[in-house]
Symmetry: C2
Subunit: 135 residues, 2 copies
Protein backbone atom coordinates (compact mmCIF):
# COMPACT_ATOMS: atom_id res chain seq x y z
CA UNK A 1 0.00 0.00 0.00
CA UNK A 2 1.34 3.43 -0.88
CA UNK A 3 2.06 6.01 1.75
CA UNK A 4 -0.68 8.16 0.28
CA UNK A 5 -3.18 5.38 0.86
CA UNK A 6 -1.89 4.69 4.35
CA UNK A 7 -2.40 8.33 5.28
CA UNK A 8 -5.88 8.45 3.80
CA UNK A 9 -6.76 5.27 5.62
CA UNK A 10 -5.96 7.08 8.84
CA UNK A 11 -7.95 10.19 7.86
CA UNK A 12 -4.86 12.29 7.34
CA UNK A 13 -4.17 14.43 4.31
CA UNK A 14 -1.30 13.27 2.14
CA UNK A 15 0.88 16.35 2.28
CA UNK A 16 4.38 16.34 0.80
CA UNK A 17 5.82 16.84 4.30
CA UNK A 18 4.10 13.78 5.70
CA UNK A 19 5.03 11.65 2.75
CA UNK A 20 8.60 12.71 3.17
CA UNK A 21 8.57 11.74 6.85
CA UNK A 22 7.16 8.34 5.95
CA UNK A 23 9.81 7.85 3.26
CA UNK A 24 12.55 8.55 5.77
CA UNK A 25 11.04 6.12 8.24
CA UNK A 26 10.73 3.46 5.60
CA UNK A 27 14.35 3.87 4.56
CA UNK A 28 15.69 4.03 8.07
CA UNK A 29 13.48 1.40 9.64
CA UNK A 30 13.81 3.26 12.94
CA UNK A 31 14.59 6.93 13.16
CA UNK A 32 14.91 9.61 15.80
CA UNK A 33 13.39 13.03 15.43
CA UNK A 34 16.84 14.32 14.57
CA UNK A 35 17.27 11.75 11.82
CA UNK A 36 13.91 12.73 10.42
CA UNK A 37 14.63 16.43 10.61
CA UNK A 38 17.98 16.09 8.91
CA UNK A 39 16.68 13.91 6.09
CA UNK A 40 13.45 15.75 5.39
CA UNK A 41 15.22 19.09 5.27
CA UNK A 42 17.38 17.84 2.43
CA UNK A 43 14.24 17.75 0.36
CA UNK A 44 12.25 20.54 2.09
CA UNK A 45 14.69 23.06 3.52
CA UNK A 46 11.85 25.18 4.91
CA UNK A 47 10.12 22.29 6.66
CA UNK A 48 9.67 23.39 10.25
CA UNK A 49 10.41 21.42 13.35
CA UNK A 50 6.95 22.05 14.69
CA UNK A 51 5.47 20.40 11.63
CA UNK A 52 7.59 17.34 12.26
CA UNK A 53 6.55 17.24 15.88
CA UNK A 54 2.90 17.71 15.01
CA UNK A 55 2.96 15.05 12.34
CA UNK A 56 4.80 12.49 14.39
CA UNK A 57 2.43 13.00 17.31
CA UNK A 58 -0.59 12.89 15.03
CA UNK A 59 0.53 9.73 13.28
CA UNK A 60 1.39 8.03 16.55
CA UNK A 61 -2.03 8.94 17.91
CA UNK A 62 -3.71 7.44 14.85
CA UNK A 63 -1.64 4.30 15.21
CA UNK A 64 0.23 4.72 11.94
CA UNK A 65 3.53 5.12 13.74
CA UNK A 66 4.88 3.68 16.97
CA UNK A 67 7.29 5.15 19.46
CA UNK A 68 10.14 2.97 20.60
CA UNK A 69 11.37 3.40 24.15
CA UNK A 70 14.75 1.82 24.43
CA UNK A 71 17.29 1.52 27.20
CA UNK A 72 19.29 4.41 25.82
CA UNK A 73 18.03 7.95 25.95
CA UNK A 74 16.74 8.63 22.46
CA UNK A 75 13.20 8.14 21.31
CA UNK A 76 12.76 6.28 18.06
CA UNK A 77 9.85 6.13 15.65
CA UNK A 78 8.88 3.34 13.30
CA UNK A 79 6.02 2.58 10.98
CA UNK A 80 3.70 0.39 13.04
CA UNK A 81 4.31 -3.33 12.67
CA UNK A 82 2.76 -6.03 14.78
CA UNK A 83 4.37 -8.71 16.82
CA UNK A 84 8.08 -8.13 16.73
CA UNK A 85 10.94 -7.34 19.07
CA UNK A 86 14.14 -5.32 18.67
CA UNK A 87 17.83 -5.96 18.88
CA UNK A 88 19.71 -2.94 20.19
CA UNK A 89 23.47 -2.81 20.05
CA UNK A 90 24.90 -1.56 23.32
CA UNK A 91 28.04 -0.30 21.56
CA UNK A 92 26.78 1.61 18.53
CA UNK A 93 23.09 1.91 19.32
CA UNK A 94 21.94 0.39 16.05
CA UNK A 95 18.46 -1.09 16.04
CA UNK A 96 17.27 -4.10 14.15
CA UNK A 97 13.86 -5.71 13.92
CA UNK A 98 13.77 -9.13 15.49
CA UNK A 99 11.01 -11.32 14.20
CA UNK A 100 10.21 -13.60 17.06
CA UNK A 101 6.78 -14.77 18.05
CA UNK A 102 5.91 -12.51 20.95
CA UNK A 103 2.58 -14.24 21.31
CA UNK A 104 4.33 -17.34 22.45
CA UNK A 105 6.11 -15.40 25.16
CA UNK A 106 2.84 -13.77 26.16
CA UNK A 107 1.13 -17.12 26.35
CA UNK A 108 3.83 -18.47 28.60
CA UNK A 109 3.91 -15.36 30.79
CA UNK A 110 0.14 -15.47 31.11
CA UNK A 111 0.50 -18.69 33.08
CA UNK A 112 2.38 -16.81 35.80
CA UNK A 113 -0.06 -13.97 36.43
CA UNK A 114 -3.75 -13.56 36.98
CA UNK A 115 -3.71 -10.17 35.24
CA UNK A 116 -4.86 -10.26 31.65
CA UNK A 117 -1.89 -9.69 29.36
CA UNK A 118 -2.71 -7.65 26.28
CA UNK A 119 0.65 -7.08 24.69
CA UNK A 120 4.39 -7.33 25.22
CA UNK A 121 7.26 -4.95 24.57
CA UNK A 122 10.52 -6.76 24.21
CA UNK A 123 13.99 -5.63 23.32
CA UNK A 124 17.33 -7.36 23.58
CA UNK A 125 20.67 -5.75 24.24
CA UNK A 126 23.22 -7.20 21.87
CA UNK A 127 26.63 -6.63 20.40
CA UNK A 128 25.96 -6.34 16.71
CA UNK A 129 28.12 -8.13 14.15
CA UNK A 130 29.78 -4.91 13.00
CA UNK A 131 30.86 -3.93 16.50
CA UNK A 132 32.01 -7.46 17.21
CA UNK A 133 34.28 -7.58 14.18
CA UNK A 134 35.44 -3.99 14.65
CA UNK A 135 36.72 -4.86 18.08
Amino acid sequence: MSHVDILKLHTLKATPQRLCVLDVLKNYGHATLEDIEKQTKLKFPTLSLSTIYRNLNEMVKKGLLSELKLANKKEYYEITKENHAHLVCTKCGSIEDFLIDTNEIIKKAQMSTSNTILDATISFDVICKECLSRK
Copy 2:
Protein backbone atom coordinates in the same frame (compact mmCIF):
# COMPACT_ATOMS: atom_id res chain seq x y z
CA MET B 1 22.21 -4.11 53.19
CA SER B 2 21.36 -0.63 54.43
CA HIS B 3 20.98 2.28 52.07
CA VAL B 4 24.03 3.87 53.67
CA ASP B 5 26.10 0.84 52.75
CA ILE B 6 24.66 0.67 49.25
CA LEU B 7 25.67 4.27 48.64
CA LYS B 8 29.16 3.75 50.00
CA LEU B 9 29.54 0.67 47.89
CA HIS B 10 28.96 2.89 44.87
CA THR B 11 31.40 5.54 46.10
CA LEU B 12 28.65 8.00 46.91
CA LYS B 13 28.33 9.89 50.15
CA ALA B 14 25.37 8.95 52.29
CA THR B 15 23.65 12.31 52.52
CA PRO B 16 20.20 12.65 54.08
CA GLN B 17 18.81 13.70 50.70
CA ARG B 18 20.05 10.60 48.94
CA LEU B 19 18.86 8.32 51.70
CA CYS B 20 15.47 9.93 51.48
CA VAL B 21 15.29 9.34 47.73
CA LEU B 22 16.20 5.70 48.25
CA ASP B 23 13.56 5.33 50.96
CA VAL B 24 10.91 6.67 48.63
CA LEU B 25 12.01 4.30 45.88
CA LYS B 26 11.96 1.38 48.24
CA ASN B 27 8.45 2.20 49.42
CA TYR B 28 7.09 2.91 45.99
CA GLY B 29 8.85 0.15 44.10
CA HIS B 30 8.75 2.34 41.01
CA ALA B 31 8.54 6.11 41.18
CA THR B 32 8.58 9.06 38.84
CA LEU B 33 10.58 12.18 39.48
CA GLU B 34 7.37 13.85 40.56
CA ASP B 35 6.63 11.11 43.06
CA ILE B 36 10.11 11.45 44.45
CA GLU B 37 9.94 15.22 44.64
CA LYS B 38 6.60 15.19 46.40
CA GLN B 39 7.62 12.57 48.94
CA THR B 40 11.08 13.85 49.72
CA LYS B 41 9.83 17.39 50.23
CA LEU B 42 7.55 16.17 53.00
CA LYS B 43 10.70 15.42 54.96
CA PHE B 44 13.01 18.06 53.44
CA PRO B 45 10.95 21.05 52.33
CA THR B 46 14.05 22.86 51.06
CA LEU B 47 15.32 19.96 48.99
CA SER B 48 15.88 21.34 45.54
CA LEU B 49 14.80 19.81 42.27
CA SER B 50 18.31 20.06 40.90
CA THR B 51 19.58 17.92 43.74
CA ILE B 52 17.02 15.27 42.88
CA TYR B 53 18.00 15.38 39.24
CA ARG B 54 21.66 15.23 40.04
CA ASN B 55 21.26 12.35 42.44
CA LEU B 56 19.03 10.30 40.20
CA ASN B 57 21.42 10.74 37.28
CA GLU B 58 24.40 9.97 39.45
CA MET B 59 22.85 6.85 40.93
CA VAL B 60 21.72 5.63 37.53
CA LYS B 61 25.21 6.16 36.16
CA LYS B 62 26.68 4.15 39.02
CA GLY B 63 24.17 1.39 38.41
CA LEU B 64 22.45 1.76 41.77
CA LEU B 65 19.19 2.79 40.12
CA SER B 66 17.61 1.88 36.81
CA GLU B 67 15.40 3.92 34.53
CA LEU B 68 12.27 2.24 33.30
CA LYS B 69 11.27 3.05 29.75
CA LEU B 70 7.65 2.17 29.36
CA ALA B 71 5.22 2.60 26.54
CA ASN B 72 3.55 5.52 28.26
CA LYS B 73 5.28 8.84 28.51
CA LYS B 74 6.55 8.99 32.07
CA GLU B 75 9.98 7.90 33.12
CA TYR B 76 10.18 5.69 36.17
CA TYR B 77 13.05 4.89 38.48
CA GLU B 78 13.66 1.77 40.52
CA ILE B 79 16.41 0.37 42.69
CA THR B 80 18.34 -1.92 40.37
CA LYS B 81 17.21 -5.52 40.43
CA GLU B 82 18.29 -8.26 38.09
CA ASN B 83 16.30 -10.50 35.91
CA HIS B 84 12.71 -9.35 36.08
CA ALA B 85 10.02 -7.93 33.87
CA HIS B 86 7.15 -5.50 34.48
CA LEU B 87 3.40 -5.56 34.25
CA VAL B 88 2.00 -2.20 33.25
CA CYS B 89 -1.71 -1.52 33.44
CA THR B 90 -2.91 0.21 30.31
CA LYS B 91 -5.82 1.77 32.21
CA CYS B 92 -4.33 3.18 35.38
CA GLY B 93 -0.62 3.01 34.59
CA SER B 94 0.26 1.05 37.70
CA ILE B 95 3.49 -0.92 37.54
CA GLU B 96 4.21 -4.25 39.11
CA ASP B 97 7.35 -6.37 39.15
CA PHE B 98 6.92 -9.61 37.29
CA LEU B 99 9.33 -12.29 38.36
CA ILE B 100 9.78 -14.42 35.29
CA ASP B 101 12.98 -16.01 34.17
CA THR B 102 14.21 -13.64 31.50
CA ASN B 103 17.26 -15.82 30.96
CA GLU B 104 15.05 -18.52 29.57
CA ILE B 105 13.63 -16.07 27.04
CA ILE B 106 17.10 -14.86 26.18
CA LYS B 107 18.30 -18.41 25.66
CA LYS B 108 15.45 -19.12 23.32
CA ALA B 109 15.85 -15.86 21.41
CA GLN B 110 19.56 -16.51 21.07
CA MET B 111 18.73 -19.43 18.82
CA SER B 112 17.17 -17.04 16.29
CA THR B 113 20.02 -14.56 15.91
CA SER B 114 23.74 -14.65 15.39
CA ASN B 115 24.19 -11.47 17.43
CA THR B 116 25.27 -12.07 21.00
CA ILE B 117 22.41 -11.27 23.34
CA LEU B 118 23.50 -9.66 26.59
CA ASP B 119 20.23 -8.75 28.24
CA ALA B 120 16.50 -8.39 27.71
CA THR B 121 14.05 -5.64 28.58
CA ILE B 122 10.53 -6.96 28.80
CA SER B 123 7.26 -5.40 29.81
CA PHE B 124 3.71 -6.58 29.45
CA ASP B 125 0.64 -4.44 28.95
CA VAL B 126 -2.10 -5.72 31.20
CA ILE B 127 -5.39 -4.78 32.76
CA CYS B 128 -4.70 -4.94 36.46
CA LYS B 129 -7.10 -6.60 38.87
CA GLU B 130 -8.27 -3.31 40.31
CA CYS B 131 -9.18 -1.87 36.92
CA LEU B 132 -10.85 -5.10 35.91
CA SER B 133 -13.12 -5.16 38.93
CA ARG B 134 -13.76 -1.42 38.80
CA LYS B 135 -15.08 -1.76 35.32
